[in-house]
């Protein structure tokens, strides 16, 4: 083997390895993040049993003795997320159906650009707008002492989930073969019957994935919720009360903790809980997306 061939072989080898490394980089990073979360968060459970952490009703991290019950935070996240889903799913799916099936080409382009723009608005801006325009409205409409409630958070987050839902659902609807529509129309189906019973039916897995990813975005969202939900770590009894979500808790308290302390570990433990929730949701969405492709 002459030197020229040798050098070429070595080059090939190095390039291949480099590309391989870039390829698995995201997996390595996720694994490292999870490992770090576990390392920092699990120490909490030397002091606080897991069941107390999840089911205890009080989050008083700086009282003496501290209480680390994240139930109010979980319920806060669930309430805000569910509210956001109730608002954004019907509007998002409806808008995707309109863009994909009904809108004339020009309207379609404008609407798609609008949706992308909505996705690009920084969450702090949306939170700010929610805080100064939405909260006062909710306060006066329901006659509340404060407008910073779970409902305000749900509405604000609905706008953030919508772009994800619309664009992914629209892709799924557009991917339905034209022949399904033709077959239905040739049997005497009206436009709406075709859209609803055939197109939406065939696109169901993709639309479910869209909803999942939209919800995933809402659960992980921090800035906007922190600004509009009022941040009271209490078990909510109605959607018109202030709540505090898991994410907002970590963001708000991380700066005040002693590194390596109990409170610090508790916030990382919240991170683990969030990681597991988003992992499950993304996994479910992925499963449905693969179903559509088959």
């Amino acid at each position: 083997m002459d030197t020229h061939t040798k050098i070429r072989k070595i080059k090939e080898f190095i390039i291949e390895r480099l590309i391989f490394l870039s390829g698995i980089m995201s997996i390595i990073i996720v694994a490292l993040i999870f490992a770090f979360l576990l390392k920092e968060g699990l120490t909490l459970f030397w002091q606080v049993p897991l069941s107390d952490f999840i089911f205890a009703r009080n989050w008083y991290p700086i009282s003496d003795p501290p209480q680390f019950g994240i139930l109010p935070l979980i319920l806060g996240s669930v309430l805000v997320t569910a509210g956001a889903a109730v608002i954004s799913v019907p509007i998002g799916i409806g808008s995707a159906l309109f863009i994909a099936e009904i809108a004339p080409p020009k309207t379609k382009e404008i609407m798609k650009a609008g949706v992308e723009l909505l996705a690009a608005i920084p969450s702090v801006v949306i939170g700010f707008i929610g805080m100064i325009t939405l909260a006062p409205i909710i306060k006066s409409v329901f006659g509340l002492p404060t407008g910073l409630t779970a409902l305000s958070g749900a509405i604000t987050l609905a706008f953030m989930a919508m772009p994800t839902i619309v664009s992914i659902a629209e892709d799924a609807i557009t991917a339905v073969p034209r022949q399904y529509r033709e077959a239905a129309i040739a049997m005497g189906a009206t436009k709406w019957q075709t859209t609803w019973r055939i197109v939406a039916y065939a696109a169901r897995p993709g639309m479910l994935a869209a909803v999942m990813l939209g919800i995933g975005r809402v659960i992980g969202e921090t800035m906007a919720v922190m600004m509009v939900t009022g941040n009271a770590a209490l078990i909510p009894h109605s959607i018109l009360q202030p709540v505090r979500t898991l994410t907002a808790t970590v963001a708000a308290e991380m700066g005040e903790t002693v590194q390596g302390g109990e409170h610090y570990a508790a916030l990382f433990a919240i991170g683990i809980v969030l990681f597991i929730i988003t992992f499950l949701i993304n996994g479910a969405a992925d499963l449905y997306l693969h179903k559509t492709k088959k």
Binding site: Q179, Y180, E182, A183, A184, G188, A189, R197, A202
Partner: protein, 252 residues
């Protein structure tokens, strides 16, 4: 011989897509319970004609037409378009089952038209499948996905699906172009049985198929009707040289 009953009457009918004429001043009648075959090379206007008969063309933005089509002496422009499409069904070249079970594929149409009773639907499904000669092959697996059927079975499923909405006219747009010879024979056999109860229009690229199943055959070329006659006559003594050339494979 008794004069045949006219089912469809096409009068001075032309089709344009934008500037291009796809069909030029067509005049012809189609009789009840016949298999009317239309042959001709690509771009001769065959499929455009079918799509006009049930106004599927209305969905094409650049479509324009002149002249009229009458079905049972009624101008189809005055008909309710959904019920027209139900009366005048079309089977496409490639079978395309809906992503549902065999049963639901066939029950889809009747359900859409408001039939809810389970036993009624079961009867309609069985009848459609029997008429399309598919029943014996699928009766034990009606709840399995229709996608699992073979190509020929899928095409007969599409025929059964259309029979379930009780059409009067069934149009076949090259129904066997994607099928193997055995499945083709099955579908042709089905066509012959169906003409007892339905009026059938068959568009085909396969000249031999027209000869096998057609009662009358029309030859279209570049949007013009060149010749129309009893299939046997047309194939044995074509009047126009272009017809003869096409039938003998000199072009096409």
């Amino acid at each position: 011989m008794v004069a045949p009953e006219i089912k469809i009457s096409i009068k001075d009918f032309s089709i344009y897509y934008g500037e291009n004429a796809a069909l030029k001043n067509l005049n012809l009648d189609i009789y009840k319970n016949e298999i009317f075959t239309i042959i001709g090379p690509a771009n001769s206007g065959k499929s455009s004609l079918l799509q006009s008969l049930n106004r599927l063309n209305d969905l094409t933005p650049s479509y324009k037409k002149e002249g009229s089509i009458f079905i049972d002496n009624e101008d189809i422009d005055n008909a309710d378009v959904e019920s027209l499409r139900r009366r005048v069904s079309i089977v496409f070249a490639l079978p395309f089952p809906l992503p549902l079970s065999i049963f639901d594929n066939i029950a889809y149409g009747p359900r859409m038209h408001g039939i809810k009773s389970k036993s009624k639907l079961a009867k309609i499904v069985e009848k459609g499948l029997r008429e399309a000669y598919l029943w014996d092959e699928v009766k034990d697996r009606l709840d399995t996905p229709a996608m699992n059927l073979s190509g020929g079975q899928q095409q007969r499923l599409c025929i059964a699906r259309i029979l379930a909405v009780e059409p009067e006219i069934i149009m076949f747009d090259e129904p066997t172009s994607g099928l193997d010879p055995i499945s083709t024979a099955r579908v042709e056999e089905t066509l012959r049985e169906l003409k007892e109860r339905y009026t059938i229009i068959l568009v085909t690229n396969n000249v031999a198929q027209a000869a096998r199943v057609g009662d009358r055959t029309a030859f279209l070329l570049m949007g013009e009707l060149i010749e129309l006659n009893d299939t046997k006559r047309l194939f044995t003594m074509a009047q126009d040289k272009r017809t003869d050339d096409y039938l003998t494979g000199k072009f096409g």
